[in-house]
Point group: C2
Chain length 265, copies 2
Amino acid sequence: MPQPRVVVDALGGDYGPAVVVEGAVLASREFGVGVSLVGPERALRDELARHGAAGSVEVVDAPESVGMGEKVTLSTIRKRSSIQVALERVRDGKADAFFSAGNTAACWTIAKTVLGTLEEVDRPALAAVVPNRGGRTVLLDVGANAEVRPEHLRQFAVMGQVFASEVVGLHDPQVGLLSIGEEATKGTPAVIEAHKLLSEDPAINFFGNVEGYDIMARVVDVIVTDGFSGNVALKVTEGTARVILTEIRNAVTGSWRAKVGALIM
Amino acid sequence: MPQPRVVVDALGGDYGPAVVVEGAVLASREFGVGVSLVGPERALRDELARHGAAGSVEVVDAPESVGMGEKVTLSTIRKRSSIQVALERVRDGKADAFFSAGNTAACWTIAKTVLGTLEEVDRPALAAVVPNRGGRTVLLDVGANAEVRPEHLRQFAVMGQVFASEVVGLHDPQVGLLSIGEEATKGTPAVIEAHKLLSEDPAINFFGNVEGYDIMARVVDVIVTDGFSGNVALKVTEGTARVILTEIRNAVTGSWRAKVGALIM
């Protein structure tokens, strides 16, 4: 098997190309993957030289960029942006995977235009790999499709199961459907209908409904939901974890301060 | 102003009447509120006697009960359950508030039947008071209405604002609409339409859209959403907090064990 090659949008993220280039160099050295950086060639070559990696990482020039807050329109899709140029390399077989820290809506739309979807998949979904008690759960959709039909949820289940098994490396992954109760009769009409579709599909290793509690509790390997609830759920885990860890850090710092104060007195 | 009186369904919860009766006695003693316990009279009087509170808490007999897992049907509404009898006392002016740890769907349905809703409110919502960074946020709906129309979200905003101000005691509460982006154009069609209704209603102190991150971050005082997303969000905060605190406890216990081990050796 030839070395896999990852094509990287060098322009995405909050810290410009510097952080992405450094990450690409590290990935190339540590994991032995081929990396192609896409963006303004001159700037990328300068960054690579700073890391002594001028020869080890390929650079592909893309003259234009998509802003992080840019609203995706036809002109977004038409320009020779780093996202566009990078995805064309996947389409043309010059790369096996695409990475971007950039504008999610632009990545989603351009990927759908340039690569299309698998047969029998109507809509791509965004999947997040959420850490749980000692493992990982694949949660999808986390924001690409705010509203979905039951059939979309069935397709997400199939895609999530394959992704969990082949990419995340989870053995014989089991799929749960996010709802507001364990019973098959709980949830919106679309969720209730999706429960039926998932139960009846022999290709899906279906566990049944799961609830918000279960996302981090390692009940199932894959959790399927619409892009609205999935986005809310993902951001709630992040927000809750951040507040709890900040409060604990403050409490610990406070108790150390008290101890240091006691020593000084 | 006469002493407020709370009517309590003595049968709800995971631990039978014992815990509810003990709580009612404590509330009666500590907060000086009048409490009426509703349930099987004989059993409740025995429990009260165990706490030396036979005279201080009123007992109202209700011969029947609603099971925690009971599916709510017409016969649920028709029986003389503790929920039914308790809510009738609110309707008849014999109590100012109702408390139950029992079957939520039964409470919701019987309350809607016995008490009705306020004028201009089509559907009751379930509100949760979520702790945040140094304060509290009112989140509604957390599960009564899996699907809602934009107008329902507007009504929830008004009810949430009044509840936050008058019951939770938050000063001049501000309302956020849960969505998957800050912009007014983000979310499902119903959420986008609700953003417009909330913006235009002079009775609502509207902040704009909030995201899952913001529930525990004290960005707004009231967060409005449909009962599906709200239920998921609430349970995700609980599940995330539980997993993080368990992991930290295990880590701390582990480090203490290591220290004790070092001392013994």
